[in-house]
Subunit: 202 residues, 2 copies
Amino acid sequence: MMSETVITGYPSGMGRWEPDAASRLLEAAMELYEKQGFDSTTVAEIAARAGLTERTFFRYFSDKREVLFGGSSGLTTLLAAEVATAPAEASPLEATAAALKSLGMLIEGQRGRDFVRRRSRILAQNPELQERELIKLASWTDALALALRARGADEQRASLAAAAGVAAFRVAFARWVSSDDPQSLPELIRESFHGLRELTGA
Amino acid sequence: MMSETVITGYPSGMGRWEPDAASRLLEAAMELYEKQGFDSTTVAEIAARAGLTERTFFRYFSDKREVLFGGSSGLTTLLAAEVATAPAEASPLEATAAALKSLGMLIEGQRGRDFVRRRSRILAQNPELQERELIKLASWTDALALALRARGADEQRASLAAAAGVAAFRVAFARWVSSDDPQSLPELIRESFHGLRELTGA
DNA sequence: GTGTTGATGTCAGTGACTGACATGACCATA
DNA sequence: TATGGTCATGTCAGTCACTGACATCAACAC
C-alpha cells in the first residue's frame, strides 16, 4: 500500500523524479513529529525535508495526520474476507476473533514492532492523532459487523461481536506495544478474547 | 453544564450583555450545520447568527466541532463515581453496566431524545465530528477502566470490561437513536449487555 | 465619582488545505 | 531526431480555523 510501485506507479529506481515520494514524506514526518512534536511541525517543513513542496504533500496525504495512517486503508477488506471464510459453524465472536488474529499477524509481519512502537509513541502525545486512530478502528468495527451480518447474524449480535472484538484487539495491541518483552500479537489477541469470555462468566 | 449560570457566571436575565452566549452559539451552530452542512459553515457565520464575533465563539468552544460536545465533559466523573459505589461483590462488567445505565438515564433526562437525534443526524454526515464523538467515548472507557482498577480488578480485566461495556453502550445508543418507537435508553443498555453475555455462550 | 472586573470586540498573524495553472522530464511514435 | 502527450511536481493566490495582544465598556463596589 505504501510501497514505491503502488504509490508512484514506477518501479523503484526507474522513476522520472526521485522515487518513493510517499515514503520519504512519511519518514520526514515521523522524524519531525518525534523531534519537535506534531503541533510544532508544519507541513512545509516535512515537505522540505523530503525534498518536495507542501502542495505535493497534500497530493499524497489528505491531511497532516493521514501520513501516519497510510497503510491502514486496505485492512477492512482483509477483515471482511477473513470473516467470510471462517467456518460456517463459528459463532460471530469466533469469526471476529479469527479475523482479528489474521490482522494481528499481518501487522506484526508488515511493519515490525519497532516501527509500530515508534508510531504509537507519536500518537500517544497528540489527541488529534488519537482521534484518527479511533476512526480507523471504528471502520474496522463497521466492516466486521457488515461481514457478520452477511453470514446471517442479526444486527445486534453482529454489532456487539464486532465492537467487543475490536475492543479486545485494542487491549491486546496496547499490551503488545507497551510491553518490554512481548508475546506475539496474535497470541496476545487470543488471550484478550479469552479474557473477554471470562468477563461474563466470573 | 451548558446552562446559563454555569457558562456565563450570571443568572439568566441578570447579565450585563445578552445572556446565554454559549446556548445561542450552540443553537446557531446546529441550525447552520443542519441547513448547509458542517463543512460549508464558517465560524464567523455561526457567531454572527448568535449576535457575537468569531473570537467569542472560540472563547466558549475550543474548536468548531466542540460546540456539539459541550455537555459531555463532566460525564466521566459520573461514570467513575458510579463504578466506585457499585456493590463490592459486583463483577467488573456488572459495575460497568450499572455505571453506563446511570449515564443512559442522565442522557435521556437531560436533553431528551429529540435533541440527541438532531445532533446524531449532524454527526452522521461528517467524519471529523465522528472522530470527536469517538474520542469522547474513549475517554469514558479510560475513566471506567481506571475506576475498575481502583476496585481491585487487574489491568487486562479492567480494560476489557470498560471497552466491551462502552461497545455495548454504543450499540444500545445507536438503536435508541435510530429506532422510530424506542424503548428507554437504560432498557436498551440492559438488553445490550445481555446480548454481550450471550455472545460468549452461544 | 472613581476604580475594578469580566465579557466582548478588534486586529494582525500563522498555518492547514484547495483550486487553477505552469513546468519539465520522460515516453511513444513518426 | 523531432514532436507531442502524459504525469508528477512546482507556483501562486485564496479561504478559513484558530491564537495572542490589546482595546472597550457596562455593571458593580467603595
